[in-house]
Amino acid sequence: MVNFLQHTFNGLVGGAFLALLALGLAVIFGMLRVVNFAHGAIYMLGAFGAYVLLTEVGLSFWWALIVMPLMLALFGMALERLVVARLARLDPLYNFLLTFGLTLILQDAVKSRYGVQSSPYDAPEVLSGTLDLGAFDFPAYRVFVLVMAVAVCVGVWWLLSRTRVGMVVRAATERPELSTALGIDVGRWVTPVFGFGIGLAGLAGVLAAPIRAVNPLMGADLIIVVFAVVVIGGLGSIFGSVAAGFAIGLVQAWVQALGEHWALLSQVLVFLVMAGVLLWRPAGLFGREEAPA
């Protein structure tokens, strides 16, 4: 039982990263109809940025946690203005291809400067111990990651459902033409929303730095898992993407807990679930059927 709780906890932490990345993807997709292939590369930049800030500038994890997402959000906004917007009127596949090319550039740029080996990054002093929550000792840093991820997801939900900004963004997402006709300046929100989604990926990256291997390819395979996650949840659905992220993280951890022999299954599980979802509900568990892209 204790073991099960421990695996459940680890699964939630793993799911937290998937959920944060899927959330960013879904927010961007909702507003721009762009599937950002570079999301994994941005995650990597977040983690690498934290490492570089620590070793070359001397800024601690806490600074990185604030600075990196903001910097990457600005980078994302510039990116949206300079290139993504130019392809906005075309088939979404073109922006998918564009961000794929960008991924290659970002990965190789980091690789040429820092090599492919992983860089060590320690969790901050305060969070290096464990927390005793009764059943067993939770590593404090992982608890922090989980709390942060849940807080961010709830925060985004609150922003979207309870604020005026969120209302405008939701209206623009669901009925762009109608919103424009009603006098809402949809275009004004495109760039900030893109930046916000990119910032979320950056945040996930900084959070990942102390517990995942920091190297130029850390986001490369992860992004494909996140794609499968959003197909499962339904890309148009923000709730679905987050829920699917946590669920996949959980199930992966449980299968992994079964032992060595199950390593392959825990890797391909997400794709098998995706296949099942495609058979059963092609639009995704929470996706709506009237919006196939």
């Binding site: 998918f96 090319g101 740029a109 690789k111 196939p292 892209a293």
Partner: protein, 352 residues
């Protein structure tokens, strides 16, 4: 069965204009940005004599290639040309962007390598077996993937290809994991094909056969239906064409062609590594198609030659971060050169 359950089917039947616009796929863009006339699938505007002249000069170039280039590079160009044409059959003629074709290229590479190593088959037979293995894999993948269109299709194919990658990575007893399959033999009735120069000529008929197969399919009634589906799936369905089945058939044919390329690649390099299944390989094939020109059969061939030559040149020059260059070329192509090399040429010819 699947025809009724898929969402795209139902929505399209509803006849909503918005849905139709989204489902048209890449070619919708060509119409939006080009001068206003959609590019016909076969380039029928080109006069017949010009087309024969093109085929003739292509044959001459193909026969001359290993004399002008390092023969290994010539073999690579031939393999990638097959791969890119396979991807273009889906992207350019069916309106489906597969971002997971490395699964078929790589599966065939492994199957061909294993058949050649374990059974000592003549290499064309091994390549054929490899391509058939790719088709077998493409049946379930294609069946599931054609339930979605557009960007989802790209994501789904990418995800399935990644699954194949993980399986190959873990299934060490067969794939040798990180070490890869080594010393793949090049058997052909006792002929000595160790020299790349002669192997190129031995492989050329397979390449020509694969390209002819796709050309034949595109210019057949079957190909016409594919183009109709690409341009207006709702109308194709209303006319009574089982859209999903046509898409699946195109998917299988594409997997077969990619498999021919992958099998030859394995024999050509005498080595198969996990790279053949990685998503960067799928991406490279799409890059080649876009750079060469979506929806043209010559384009992917030209693109394959260009990209392979460039990569060879870069690695020869000791440049390690090839992704920087290919990524930049890709970004620029997508931003300002969406017609691609061949598409631009055809457009320019048409205007005169």
């Amino acid at each position: 069965m699947s025809e009724q359950s898929a969402p795209e089917q139902e929505t399209a039947a509803a006849g909503s204009v918005a849905v139709e616009d989204q489902a048209v796929g890449v070619r919708a863009e060509a119409r939006a940005t080009a001068t206003g006339t959609p590019v016909p699938a076969g380039g029928t505007i080109v006069p017949r004599w010009l087309r024969w002249a093109l085929v003739g000069s292509a044959l001459v170039v193909a026969l001359w290639l290993p004399n002008g280039l390092y023969p290994t590079v010539a073999v690579d160009i031939a393999c990638w040309a097959l791969f890119a044409v396979a991807v273009d059959l889906l992207l350019g003629y069916t309106g489906l962007m597969s971002f997971g074709h490395a699964a078929f290229w790589g599966t065939s590479a492994y199957a061909t390598g294993l058949a050649a190593i374990n059974w000592g088959l003549p290499f064309p037979v091994a390549v054929l077996l490899g391509a058939l293995a790719a088709v077998v894999l493409a049946i379930p993948v294609g069946y599931l993937a054609v339930k979605r269109v557009g960007i989802y299709f790209a994501m789904v194919t990418l995800a399935f290809a990644q699954m194949v990658y993980y399986i190959a990575n873990q299934w060490r007893s067969v794939t040798q994991g990180e070490n890869g399959l080594q010393r793949v033999p090049r058997e052909l009735f006792g002929l000595d094909l160790t020299d790349e120069y002669y192997f190129y000529y031995a492989a050329l008929p397979i390449v020509a056969g694969g390209l002819f197969l796709v050309w034949r399919a595109v210019h057949s009634p079957f190909g016409r239906v594919l183009v109709a589906i690409r341009d207006n799936p709702a109308r194709a369905r209303a006319l009574g064409y089982p859209v999903h089945r046509y898409k699946l058939a195109a998917f299988l044919l594409s997997a077969f062609t990619a498999g021919l390329g992958g099998g030859l690649f394995a024999i050509g390099h005498r080595f198969v590594s996990l790279d053949v299944l990685h998503w960067t390989t799928s991406g490279k094939a799409v890059i080649i198609v876009v750079l060469g020109g979506i929806g043209t059969l010559w384009g992917p061939v030209v693109g394959a030659a260009g990209v392979t030559r460039l990569e060879d040149w870069l690695s020869f020059a000791g440049f390690e971060q090839i992704g920087l260059v290919t990524g930049a070329i890709f970004v620029l192509t997508v931003l300002i050169f969406r017609r691609g090399l061949w598409g631009t040429l055809a457009h320019w010819l048409r205007r005169r």
